[in-house]
């Protein structure tokens, strides 16, 4: 099983915002300088940065961050296109692949939150599973990978 990495605590809007900011600056910038120009704490920028890197939208040569082709494609795409790209990329992440498999095998393709949290804490015992769950759900909702119903507390795979 490939190593499951925790997700940086960031939203899609922040990731795309980072790509936009880079694009405004010609596609490449020094990380520290970027943080200063945007008036961001380095820590906040790093979360979005790590996420963008994991999703293969940027590369980080040296102390810089550079927009790559996929990232540019993401920016040019419209809402539907962005979703498709994001969907394709997060499926490559072991965490989402595992969750997807879990849901596929579950009865009725539904799993309650507690079970998912348990699994998460098994894979990543040192992480804050609550926050991890929230981030994962937010990403998968956007990508329409899977959904979460707060009333029943179930995660589910959307019908095709």
């Amino acid at each position: 099983m490939p190593t499951i990495e925790p997700l940086p605590h960031t939203t899609l809007s922040q990731i795309v915002g980072l790509l936009e900011a880079l694009n405004d600056r010609g596609g490449k910038d020094d990380i520290y300088k970027l943080a200063k120009e945007l008036n961001l704490e380095l820590g906040d920028l790093m979360a979005a940065l790590r996420a963008a890197e994991t999703l293969e939208f940027v590369t980080t040569p040296g102390g810089d961050v550079e927009l790559n082709d996929l990232g540019r494609k993401m920016l040019k795409a419209r809402t539907a296109g962005r979703k498709k790209l994001f969907h394709a990329q997060i499926q490559k992440l072991p965490l989402f692949a595992q969750l997807h498999q879990l849901l596929e095998q579950a009865p009725g393709k539904r799993l309650d939150k507690e079970t998912v949290l348990e699994e998460l804490s098994k894979w990543l015992p040192d992480e804050d599973t609550g926050q991890l769950f929230q981030t994962a759900i937010n990403w998968s909702r956007y990508a329409e990978l899977f959904g979460y119903d707060q009333d029943t507390g179930d995660c589910f795979l959307p019908e095709e």
């Binding site: 922040q14 915002g17 936009e20 945007l38 906040d44 979703k83 937010n138 909702r141 329409e144």
Partner: protein, 248 residues
């Protein structure tokens, strides 16, 4: 001329006395214009937006919409709020459907329209989420979807990005611009209140500058730059400086 502000004055009474927030504001706004209203805090720009929307009746003066004096809430305007304005006990979709229900639409139409617009702003897949589960960016997208779903003529935005973090507001600004440029959406006229000058120059065709309280129109600039606008280029910076100097 879609909207006309005719000698708008507004004041309200406080225990200490009468406070004048807007003085003699006269302007006109055409269809397909993206207008930004900027000014220091307290200059009455949010109040002006609410007067345009018909939420507040001006102490004197009038608003003319399509050449007719406006009495009461303008049903052809839709507003996006700074703190999102979502009801916490409804899901995002139910929040949008509520606005459609108020229009008298049947439930099935409510649902399809809500889902359509939520999808368009990128919330497809999150319709069943409650506001407390969502980030600021997504909540504002929901607010935007709601405003678009009633298919208004004019979109009013009250400091729509000031409750969002830097990166998220970059994304949303670009999305608002896209929506405005998209021929498919019904809204072609946007009036946005903001205190961030770069934002006004990036998005708007026209910037109306208000003075500190009591708010008077100090200037009304046309921004003649093609979009998308490069913030690092000289013309952009010049506009920003011009507006800054008018505010000082």
């Amino acid at each position: 001329m879609l909207l006309q502000l005719d000698k708008i004055n507004h004041a309200y009474a406080k225990p200490q006395g009468r406070v004048v927030v807007l003085k003699n504001v006269t302007a006109s706004i055409d269809e397909r214009e993206f207008v930004a209203i900027v000014g220091p805090s307290g200059c009455g720009k949010s109040t002006l937006l609410r007067i345009i929307a018909g939420l507040v009746a001006p102490t004197s003066g009038r608003v003319l919409y399509k050449d007719k004096p406006q009495t009461g809430v303008n049903a052809e305007c839709a507003m996006v709020f700074q703190s999102f304005g979502l009801f916490p006990w409804f899901t995002v979709r139910e929040n949008v459907e509520l606005a459609l229900e108020a229009l008298g639409l049947p439930p099935r139409t409510q649902r399809t329209r809500a889902e359509f617009y939520l999808d368009r702003v990128g919330l497809g897949g999150s319709e069943g989420a409650y506001p407390r589960e969502l980030s600021g960016g997504m909540k504002q997208r929901a607010g935007l979807a709601r405003a678009l779903a009633v298919e208004p003529n004019v979109l009013l935005m009250d400091e729509p990005f000031s409750s969002l973090d830097v990166l998220t507001s970059i994304t949303l600004r670009e999305e608002v611009l896209r929506i405005w440029e998209d021929k498919e959406f019904s809204v072609h006229t946007v009036i946005m209140v903001t205190h961030i000058i770069e934002e006004a120059v990036e998005l708007a065709d026209r910037v109306v500058i208000l003075s500190p309280r009591p708010g008077r129109i100090v200037d009304d600039l046309r921004i003649d730059l093609p979009r998308p606008r490069d913030k690092r280029q000289q013309p952009f910076i010049e506009y920003v400086d011009r507006i800054f100097s008018k505010l000082a």
